[in-house]
């Protein structure tokens, strides 16, 4: 049922509605709270932890259960390239660009080498 939503105008409308109802309000809430509430409070620490865990879960899912072209790359290469990205990031004094592009380059290189 949700198949056609990726391409149809109804899908465009759905994207807009979800953005306005489920996403942008958090920015407005932050705008409102930004005047009085302490960013160091416990509730925010918990919220941050939940958001971090959620995105981390998304990351491992994207790497371990990928869709499309990435699914054609062997699991071992995906995991090695991911670990290489973390290693490069830490090894370059936490340079985000080096880690991100180094990881993708490692993925490419390993694909060509194993072909």
């Amino acid at each position: 049922m949700t198949d056609g939503l990726l391409t149809s105008p109804e899908g465009t409308l759905l994207i807009l509605v979800i953005a306005i109802l489920a996403h942008e309000p958090f920015r407005w809430l932050g705008l409102y709270l930004g005047h009085g509430i302490d960013a160091q409070s416990e509730i925010f620490a918990w919220v941050r932890a939940v958001a971090t865990a959620l995105v981390a879960g998304l990351v491992t899912r994207l790497v371990l259960f990928p869709v499309g072209a990435l699914a054609e790359v062997p699991l071992l290469i995906r995991c090695t390239a991911f670990a290489a990205g973390i290693g490069i990031y830490l090894g370059t004094n936490k340079h985000l660009g080096a880690g991100v592009f180094g990881s993708a380059t490692a993925l490419l290189a390993m694909q060509f080498l194993t072909q």
Partner: protein, 275 residues
């Protein structure tokens, strides 16, 4: 030409300002820190230039990854670009697109989007005080709010304190506009490339998104619980995806985050007692 000309904007013509951009590259920091009158356009353009820096390049490449992912999932180019514009937050976009592509429930998708959006609240709370005095118009604050996402937020926190207060809002709107433009171009490029480049390169583009998210989380982690949440969430993601597809991210977030919070607080408590 020195920027003394630029700080006397008695209708400085635009051509003069752009000439200044070329010649004053090295002294831009000094120029921006000057609390005197500077043409608002100049401040805005300087903000937009931040999109040309390394974080901007990563963001553009990651949007390319999103575009490639969208193409792969079967989304139309228009919907992909539209999604990039109205969300301006890659995790929410990837979550929602993934949910739609897998034919999952719309409510579940909206809930997961909401959960990824919660992390924007503390970002907003920490950046608004930097933009504030004198309190800008509501329309400008809402526009600035839309640009709050990990990259623009990090750059804002890093650069805004160096500027005089009256120039920060315009500068941040410049950062946001530049970053947003970069993401829209990146999405379109990634979308088109994914369809026409060799499979190996498409795979490389698709790989940018997860590694960028993960390293950004590492870069933003401060507390023990942030690191625990990162590890526990990573470990919970795959099994929950197998056990509860559709609700897996929600559970990974709530369970992983809560466990990390409790364990992190315990751990900090133990450290304090030892001291």
């Amino acid at each position: 030409m020195s920027f003394s000309i630029l700080s006397q904007p008695t209708r400085v013509e635009f051509s003069t300002v752009t000439e200044g951009v070329k010649q004053e590259k090295t002294s831009q920091a000094n120029d921006l820190a000057n609390p005197g009158k500077v043409h608002a356009n100049w401040t805005f353009i300087q903000g937009m230039r931040v999109a040309l820096s390394t974080p901007g390049a990563i963001l553009m490449a990651s949007s390319g990854g999103f575009g490639a992912l969208a193409n792969d999932a079967g989304m139309s180019l228009f919907n992909a670009i539209f999604m990039m514009a109205v969300f301006f937050a890659l995790p929410a976009q990837v979550v929602l697109m993934d949910q739609l592509a897998r034919g999952g429930s719309i409510i579940g998708g909206a809930l997961a989007v909401g959960l990824t959006g919660v992390r924007l609240v503390p970002m907003m709370v920490t950046i608004m005080p930097l933009l504030g005095k004198p309190r800008p118009a509501l329309s400008r604050r809402l526009a600035a709010a839309h640009f709050v996402a990990i990259t623009a937020w990090l750059e804002g926190l890093r650069l805004l304190p160096k500027l005089p207060e009256n120039r920060r809002m315009t500068f941040f709107l410049g950062i946001g506009t530049g970053m947003s433009a970069a993401t829209l171009m990146g999405t379109a490029l990634g979308f088109e490339l994914a369809g026409s480049v060799p499979l190996a390169i498409s795979a490389g583009l698709l790989f940018l998104t997860p590694i960028y998210f993960f390293l950004s989380l590492m870069a933003a982690a401060r507390l023990t619980m942030d690191w625990l949440a990162l590890v526990i969430g990573s470990l919970l993601g795959p099994p929950l995806f197998v056990l509860t597809p559709g609700l897996d991210l929600l559970f990974a977030g709530l369970i992983g985050g809560t466990v990390a919070y409790v364990a992190g607080r315990r751990f900090d408590g133990i450290l304090e007692e030892e001291e």
